[in-house]
């Protein structure tokens, strides 16, 4: 494996890169199909294709052999859910990439730094106490965004020593910020809710869930995602320069002050929007960029599209696992992502301790 890695990875030629992208798109389509078919109600694969063909073309291409409840499950429940899973996975991956360039540290991600927990506190606060100021979803996103901004500022200030963010400081700052906002979220939930409801709500916000996905919620997160993706892709060359240090980026001609502001804004906005619909799902922004880098290299022109696909596909599959593994019950998706991500996190800490290089 090591020998394989030395000779073939990261993929050098553009042809190999495009082939990888093609494979990932195919994997994503298969994952989406599997995700729609599998679940507590069995649906035939042919019915899904037939129904979607009719729905998307707006005509009766295929004569329906299924009943209306199946249509409702496919269109109203599973389709928005699988698309939400994709956007959550892809979005958390993008946040991880930007935060790693911001801190020059491969261990940075919204969960490790406590940004997700901050966003979740903000969202919960708005749901519990903010109904008089803001209406529904927008209030929740706004709360999550504000929570994310507060937590990223605290985390980065604590993690910084002489303008450098070390791995140890970063992790310690993250633990503290995550614990603080986690406690805050729990206090608010336990003060406001009663009975089994409070346990469920707390679990939703602390461990993540996609069970509340609807078209309505999907649309606004999708808009935020697309806008942030375009911004992040536009600053891709500056992100390359940032990896080498702020000083170096500055001498290469990057407006580092403005760039850092943009980086913080897009990550908090994206984290806020994602957490407001899915709760806290950990480690995606940590593992996916790292794995994708080892396949396509660190250059952001290649990394951003590839990692977006890998992250989205990963979360679609994680969602499938969370639904089928203890069926008919559902495992919180954060448990699934932590199950894969936490060991990887340990591996990265060990690696950074040994060589200081990733």
């Amino acid at each position: 494996m090591k020998k394989f890695k030395k000779h073939f990875l990261p993929l050098e030629s553009n042809g190999a890169y495009l082939f990888f992208i093609f494979i990932m798109i195919a994997a994503l389509i298969v994952s989406i199909a599997v995700s729609i078919v599998l679940g507590s109600v069995d649906i035939k694969f042919g019915d899904v294709i037939g129904f979607l063909a009719n729905k998307i073309s707006g005509r009766r291409v295929v004569v329906p052999t299924w009943d209306d409840s199946i249509e409702s499950i496919i269109w109203d429940i599973r389709t928005p859910r699988v698309l939400t899973a994709f956007i959550v996975g892809a979005g958390l991956t993008l946040c991880g990439i930007v935060m790693q360039a911001l801190t020059k540290n491969t261990l940075a991600d919204p969960y490790v730094l406590g940004i997700s927990q901050g966003a979740s506190s903000g969202a919960v606060f708005m749901i519990m106490y903010g109904s008089m100021f803001f209406y529904g979803q927008y209030g929740t996103v706004l709360g999550a965004f504000i929570g994310a901004v507060i937590s990223i500022v605290i985390a980065l200030q604590i993690a910084k020593i002489r303008n450098k963010v070390t791995a140890t400081q970063l992790i310690l700052a993250g633990i503290a910020v995550a614990a603080m906002f986690g406690a805050l979220t729990n206090i608010m939930i336990y003060l406001q809710r009663t009975g089994s409801d409070k346990v469920k709500t707390a679990q939703y916000w602390m461990m993540g869930s996609l069970s509340g996905s609807t078209w309505e919620r999907l649309v606004y997160v999708a808009i935020v995602f697309v806008v942030c993706f375009i911004v992040i892709y536009a600053i891709r060359k500056m992100l390359d320069a940032m990896l080498l240090g702020d000083d170096v980026a500055l001498t290469l001609g990057v407006n580092t002050g403005r760039l850092k502001l943009i980086m913080i804004l897009v990550t908090t906005l994206l984290t806020g929007a994602i957490v407001s619909i899915s709760g806290v799902i950990g480690f995606v922004g940590l593992t996916i960029p790292h794995i994708t880098r080892s396949v396509v290299g660190s250059k952001h022109t290649r990394l951003i599209p590839a990692a977006t696909l890998v992250g989205g596909t990963f979360l679609v599959l994680a969602d499938v696992i969370s639904r089928v593994i203890i069926s008919p019950e559902e495992l919180p998706i954060g448990v699934v992502s932590a199950f894969f991500g936490a060991p990887f996190f340990l591996y990265l800490i060990r690696k950074s301790r040994m060589g200081g290089k990733g």
Binding site: K237, L243, G253, V254, G358
Partner: protein
Amino acid sequence: MKLETKGITYSIDGKLIIDGIDISVKEGEFVGVVGPNGCGKSTLLKNIYKVYTPDSGAAYIDGEEIFKMSNKKTAKKMSVMQQENLVDFDMTVYDMAMLGRFAHQKMFSGDSDEDREIVLEYLKEVGLEGYEKRHFLSLSGGEKQRTLLARALSQKAPLIILDEPTNHLDIGYQYQIMNILKRQKLTMLCCVHDLNIAATYCDRIILMKKREVFKIGTPREMLTSENIKELFHIDTQIVENEKTGSINIIFLPEL
């Protein structure tokens, strides 16, 4: 292309590091900054290439204040070669050198044919032809430093600032890098530790001592036994090097 500083003063946490520095570098000149550890030479350069903001005073390129220029415009006029940073992320030698073209590129455009030609030309110039696909972190110290030199040269700026560019390199690499630099016919301001390198390559030398400029002049005027004793507290003998035509400093430590 002329570089000038007027009264640059800079302090960290209330502690004065450099005090009222006035220097100038003429078009095509290779100027070295020499002085003991902690005299403020690296701080002076960082105040010129915008990593530090002077408390008072300013640096000017052709009369235009550097701090008032956009970073992109500065990068087109002045490139910087520093010591290698420790980085967590790997990239190819080619991609690393291509970052030197950043200031010349538009936001959504890729690398142009001109960019590619320039980068390949300078990789060849520094002797790294055939290294394009090698990974930066797998290189030796000398190869890394030459990659950074190719990146700085690819910036195509008429002025280059060298902030201790040859530290940690063995003597062969130090002279190799200085030779490459000397060939470029650029305006250069360079922090130098090795007095023999300063004597061989610099047109003028700025001696710094305790936060201030001590003296400025040609290597022969500056690198005298008296000045070196004053700055570094070590006895020396200055001899002519017939091959290079410049002076050599022989150190005479008390054993």
